[in-house]
């Protein structure tokens, strides 16, 4: 039963989908405040390279080293997003161009590659990596074994994060204020909410989560460093926020769906099912499906902007007398 295609795909979808989940939750928080950050891919790569650097250079027990690595990755991601925050919130620059600039600056041919090269990180595999939490015998249990008990701490933490973000947005005062800032900044301002502070804070948290998402690659999924290790996941995460109608619980579903897609073609091939050029399908399928789902979401015009923050992408200018 645990070898059936569905179970294998769900389990691997959860594994591969975890960085997408972290990054999309972060982007969701930033967008809920009205800030579109297209720099997710760049921030993820910064998190990936700094997290990997930490486990290589910081000598401590595995648990401490990994915790430090995730912390450093989050800080580095937040620091990267600060550039975007300053440009679009304080200087009111175009969010689209600034986000693109952030990905060029930090991305596959930018700072992440520079740091990886300069610290010579590509030479060795990671000294510490995340492993499954529960004993191996549990993973043999039918269905729940691989799906529930077969993961590392980062996966379980992301489940907690989904609940936290959901509670934050729907049940807490700052969360409701955040939605006001994203939907009607002028009204929020009149209520006495500091619009700029909310936007800065949530852009930074978004950057931190993108950093953690990147570290998930270099510390768990593929514990090594090479340029462009995230391979476009940051962009899929941005698309996910749209598919999820800006709701955290749907981010989880979408992230695991796209995670499973990455494993679909090799899994089919292993079972002797050939659907044309396997290599091409394996690589290109997540990107093609992103386009297909995006078209489906945007074509159903009545639901197109359901959940989209009304002030997304526009700077807030207080009109003073």
């Amino acid at each position: 039963m645990n070898n059936s295609l569905a179970v294998v795909l769900i389990a691997s979808g959860i594994g591969y989908g975890t960085p997408l989940l972290y990054a999309s939750l972060g982007e969701l928080l930033a967008e809920r405040s009205g800030v579109l950050n297209l720099g997710v891919e760049g921030m993820m790569l910064i998190g990936a390279v700094t997290g990997f650097w930490t486990v290589q250079r910081f000598h401590a027990g595995t648990a401490v080293a990994l915790a430090a690595a995730v912390g450093i990755a989050a800080l580095a991601g937040a620091a990267t997003s600060l550039i975007h925050a300053f440009l679009v919130i304080t200087l009111r620059a175009s969010q689209i161009v600034s986000g693109l600039a952030l990905t060029i600056f930090a991305g596959a041919a930018g700072l992440s590659s520079y740091l990886g090269n300069d610290f010579n990180l590509a030479a060795n595999p990671a000294r510490h990596t995340f492993h499954t939490v529960f004993p191996a015998s549990w993973q043999g249990w039918p269905l729940v074994g691989p799906i529930i008990f077969g993961h590392n701490v980062l996966v379980y933490a992301s489940w907690g994060l989904v609940v936290t973000v959901w509670l934050y947005l729907t049940r807490t005062r700052p969360g409701l204020n955040l939605r006001a800032v994203g939907d009607a900044p002028a009204a929020a301002d009149a209520m006495g909410i500091n619009v700029a502070a909310y936007r800065y804070a949530h852009t930074l948290v978004g950057g931190a989560l993108a950093g953690v998402a990147g570290a998930t690659f270099t510390l768990a999924i593929n514990p090594q460093w090479f340029d462009n290790i995230t391979g476009g996941s940051g962009w899929i995460a941005i698309a996910l926020v749209i598919f999820a109608f800006w709701r955290p619980e749907l981010c989880l579903v979408g992230a695991y769906f796209f995670g499973a897609l990455q494993d679909l073609a090799p899994e089919l091939q292993a079972r002797g099912i050939h659907l044309g050029p396997t290599v091409l399908w394996t690589n290109a399928l997540p990107y093609l499906m992103t386009i297909v789902v995006l078209v489906l979401v945007s074509a159903s015009s009545t639901r197109r902007w359901l959940g989209a923050p009304a002030a997304l992408g526009t700077p807030y200018v207080r009109e003073e007398g």
Binding site: I104, A108, S298
Partner: protein
């Protein structure tokens, strides 16, 4: 108009110098070597043109679309597809014994058509389903990259060399026949500088684009659409048709850049993931276009400067000149251009403050 981009360049080199210093490099000597490798050394100018030519194409492609706030960031993929279709045309017509001009013309047409077709995918999705162009055009970059690699490394395609010992050991692409190789003019200064035919096409494309945007009704309408989609619709402009046309033009220019890669520089379809795909010409083109403030003629100049940077990065890459530095500098240039532009805009806003409705227009993404 020149002050902001120039100041951005200066600031970017200052800020990147801090990155160099922070990682234990001597910034001044790095810059001196960068400048020498880009413009002063023997043969440097020719190498800079090799990098500047594709950047001019991708820069023009980005400028053409961004002007209408149609954020086509798929120049990278459109360039790959243009390279694929142009290589097919070159292999087919170049080997048929006809005149060289005919093979070259076929490559130009095929490259433009391939790039335009690839760009029309996000264009059509945007025009008919209002799908976000940024994400679809970017996703297609990855698909195009994998397709390019697949054609040579995982299949027995028309482009792949199947005869000979080398081909049986390592997957390679067919070499273009001589009549499909684009000629270059040599200027006899400083050890000889080769002016590739593609650079000529880029200048021509920039001129045409400039005329199109500043002297025709089409360009006027595209500019209005960029400034205010709503105003354009009230004025009866055809948004859908314009989106398709602009995406096709943008893709065609990027595709021509791909054709130039085949004909001018590589003389084969470069499918190596560490070859053409590691140059990131499409993404750097966005930097070029933004720094040129989407002005086609300025794109040529900026492409030359950024091309120098890219060429120097390729030449110097090594232990004390980590790869990625070029991207860092490019990113900071863009940041400072964005920040600088705001300073300009801010001055205007102060002067006519009583005018209401200063809210920025929503962007047609």
């Amino acid at each position: 108009m020149v002050a902001v981009p120039a100041a951005s360049l200066v600031f970017a080199f200052f800020a990147s110098g801090l990155v160099l210093l922070a990682t234990g490099h001597d910034a001044l000597s790095s810059y001196r070597r960068l400048f020498d490798a880009a413009f002063l050394n023997r043969g440097a100018l020719g190498d800079t043109l090799v990098s500047a030519t594709p950047l001019a194409f991708t820069g023009l492609a980005a400028a053409a679309a961004f002007r209408m706030r149609l954020f086509n960031i798929g120049g990278e993929g459109q360039l790959y597809i243009g390279a694929i279709t142009a290589a097919a045309a070159g292999l087919y017509f170049g080997g048929s014994g006809g005149p060289s001009a005919f093979a070259i013309a076929a490559m130009v047409v095929a490259g433009c058509a391939g790039g335009a077709a690839w760009a029309l995918i996000p264009g059509i999705l945007r025009a008919f389903f209002r799908t976000n162009v940024i994400i679809t055009s970017l996703m297609l970059n990855y698909v195009a990259g994998y397709l390019l690699t697949y054609l040579i490394f995982n299949s027995q395609s028309y482009w792949r060399q199947t005869i000979g010992f080398n081909a049986s050991v390592f997957p390679t692409s067919k070499q273009l026949p001589n009549s499909a190789i684009w000629p270059a003019a040599t200027v006899h200064v400083h050890g000889g500088v080769a002016l590739p035919l593609g650079a000529g096409f880029a200048v021509l494309a920039a001129g045409l684009l400039w005329v199109l945007y500043s002297r025709t009704r089409f360009g006027f309408e595209a500019n209005v659409l960029g400034d205010s989609a709503r105003a354009a619709r009230y004025a009866g402009m055809r948004t859908r048709r314009k989106i398709l046309a602009v995406m096709a033009i943008s893709g065609a220019i990027a595709g021509l850049g791909g054709a130039s890669q085949d004909g001018d520089f590589r003389h084969t379809l470069d499918a190596d993931p560490n070859g053409l795909q590691r140059q990131f010409y499409g993404y750097s083109g966005i930097v070029v276009a933004a720094l040129a403030r989407y002005n086609p003629l300025a794109v040529l100049l900026v492409a030359f400067l950024i091309g120098g940077l890219q060429n120097a990065g390729n030449t110097l890459q090594g232990a004390d000149f980590p790869s990625g530095l070029v991207g860092v500098i490019q990113g900071i240039i863009l940041f400072s251009a964005l920040g600088g532009e705001l300073l300009v805009r801010y001055r205007i806003r102060v002067r006519r403050r009583e005018r209401a409705g200063s809210a920025p227009a929503a962007e047609v993404t």
